[in-house]
């Protein structure tokens, strides 16, 4: 009897999918998006209407507009011609005293079923940030009819 060794083929290795290139591409894309994505600051709107667009309907309003004066140093004065009330300067882009005053005025206008109107006299030398801070408080209270007083020829 021959002692011939029987040939046995080596078992096939387990079939598998090489996913390393897939991971490479995935990481490449991920890093691309991570690098190119920029977190932008969100811009928001503060809307108002100029006086010429505010149409008078019905009888003239009984409630006079609230007159505000924005001074050169940024302080806001309410009713500067009658009984001036200093509402302070902006702190962290907010004017809490002005907001209180506006809320009172808006409530009065709502009770009288009239449109709340603001007349704002802003000094020409004030920075835009301070003007927008006032508009921000006005818009937040829900008043959109604003008359910006003192246009051309006023170098105050």
């Amino acid at each position: 009897m021959s002692r011939k060794k029987k040939y046995r083929a080596e078992p096939d290795p387990e079939p598998g999918l090489d996913i390393s290139s897939l991971i490479d591409v995935s990481f490449l894309l991920l890093i691309y998006f991570l690098v190119t994505t920029t977190l932008k600051k969100k811009e928001v709107d503060v809307g108002m209407r100029l006086p010429s667009s505010i149409q008078q309907q019905g009888p003239p309003p009984e409630l006079p507009p609230l007159v505000l004066s924005l001074e050169e140093d940024g302080s806001v004065i309410a009713s500067p011609n009658q009984s001036p009330a200093d509402l302070g300067k902006p702190v962290n882009n907010r004017l809490p005293l002005l907001k209180e005053r506006l809320q009172e005025y808006k409530a009065a206008a709502d009770r009288a079923r009239q449109v709340a109107r603001i007349t704002l006299r802003a000094s020409n030398k004030v920075e835009h940030q301070k003007l927008v801070t006032v508009f921000n408080e006005i818009a937040d209270v829900g008043i959109s009819d604003v008359t910006l007083d003192g246009f051309m020829g006023d170098d105050k």
């Binding site: 991920l30 811009e43 709107d45 503060v46 920075e127 835009h128 801070t133």
Partner: protein, 159 residues
Amino acid sequence: MASKKLNSANTAQIEDMGIDMSPMIDMVFLLLIFFMVASTMIVDRKDPFVEIPVTPDGKDPQLGVKKVTINVYSKEALDKVPELAGRTSQFADVNGNEITTADISRIMREAKEQVAGQNRTVVLYVRGDKDALVLQMKQVLQAAGAGGVQDVIFSGYSR
């Protein structure tokens, strides 16, 4: 002393150990798909030389209106930014081109003609630098009013 059999069994176990990559691949794909979906290809036409003011209570941008953007630079920006050197006007259109108040009125009139009959209103969108003066804002508002546009939106950062 461990037997040979035990030793060989332990060695085989160690050789079989490996890190399971599948959760990592899952996460990578998840992030990849998130960025692919969340990314929007927009043409950013916000003038980088205008540092707009902060408006903590500003509302989300209004849709459905035709916004006409006017950029207002500060005097400091005109002096310091090389790209703005030589400009005499502090106003620019949406593409950053120098314009005058007469141009603003013309742009407004053209925008109104474009939306005529479309039930859309034209809104002046002022991107004013926080250090620009109220005088310039008044000039823009007056020019827009002369062009027939009374609705105004001031742009600001929410924080």
